[in-house]
């Protein structure tokens, strides 16, 4: 099960080397995103697109809010 995290935990994990992934569509990502986040829209998320991520490092996913 993925672990839910809050804002402070996100900051801590990123400071420790976690990767941030916004899973919203590209247009929304380009409007604004968390510093350092990459964009892999949910609709395109598969083993191929996930190759942009390093498996050894933690991954934090997010979208706009509780949707």
């Amino acid at each position: 099960m993925p672990t839910p995290v809050d804002r402070q935990e996100v900051r801590q994990l990123v400071a420790e080397g976690a990767q941030l992934v916004e899973v919203l569509p590209q247009a929304e990502y380009e409007e604004e995103h968390l510093p350092g986040a990459i964009n892999i829209p949910l609709k395109t998320l598969d083993a191929e697109t996930a190759r942009r991520l390093e498996r050894e490092r933690p991954v934090i996913v997010y979208c706009h809010d509780y949707q």
Binding site: P2, Y29, E32, A47, L53, V59
Partner: protein, 173 residues
């Protein structure tokens, strides 16, 4: 959406996946920086006056008045130990009788906005409601600062020079 993405990443084989379920709406509402075309400078949080006087419920009004006047602004926010806004002392309230406490003089529950609010929307609101300032808090009510209308209008003109004439026209009574 993010829970599905997190589960998918786990199924692909990522061993440490976290889900920031509150997302960028939460991030922005706490005044945290955002990158991208829109960027943080178009948001209220980038244009706050942060040195806003604050006081506690049980303070004598005359002591707060002296402190506030020395600081400059004609308003003071009443906060609790967690810096959550409980009320506001405007110019008239600050001029109240010396024997009053802050709690007796304040207006409760002032309307506030989040730092992630678009600056143009904040300016529209101040014009519509004839406000010179807007208090800005996090989504859990903690005081971040004050958006002053003059500052906000100037910033908006600098961000979008082409709309300057429209803005000044719409600000006329």
């Amino acid at each position: 959406m993010s829970p599905r993405a997190a589960s998918r990443l786990e199924s692909i084989g990522f061993p440490r996946v976290y889900d920031y379920v509150a997302g960028k709406a939460d991030w922005g509402s706490f005044g945290m920086p955002l990158e991208g075309r829109r960027g943080s400078e178009t948001r209220v949080g980038a244009h706050l006056r942060r040195d806003v006087p604050a006081c506690r419920l049980d303070e004598p009004l005359h002591e707060v008045r002296t402190r506030v006047r020395a600081a400059g602004p004609d308003t003071c926010f009443v906060v609790n130990d967690e810096n959550v806004v409980l009320g506001r002392l405007g110019r008239a309230a600050l001029a109240g009788a010396d024997q009053l406490t802050v709690e007796q003089a304040m207006s409760s529950g002032p309307s506030t906005v989040r730092p992630s609010l678009e600056l143009d929307r904040a300016v529209e609101r101040m014009r519509r409601q004839n406000l010179t300032t807007l208090p800005v808090t996090t989504s859990d009510g903690r005081l971040l600062g004050l958006l002053e209308r003059d500052t906000a209008e100037r910033a908006l003109r600098e961000l979008n020079p082409n709309s300057a004439s429209t803005l000044s026209e719409s600000s006329q009574p």
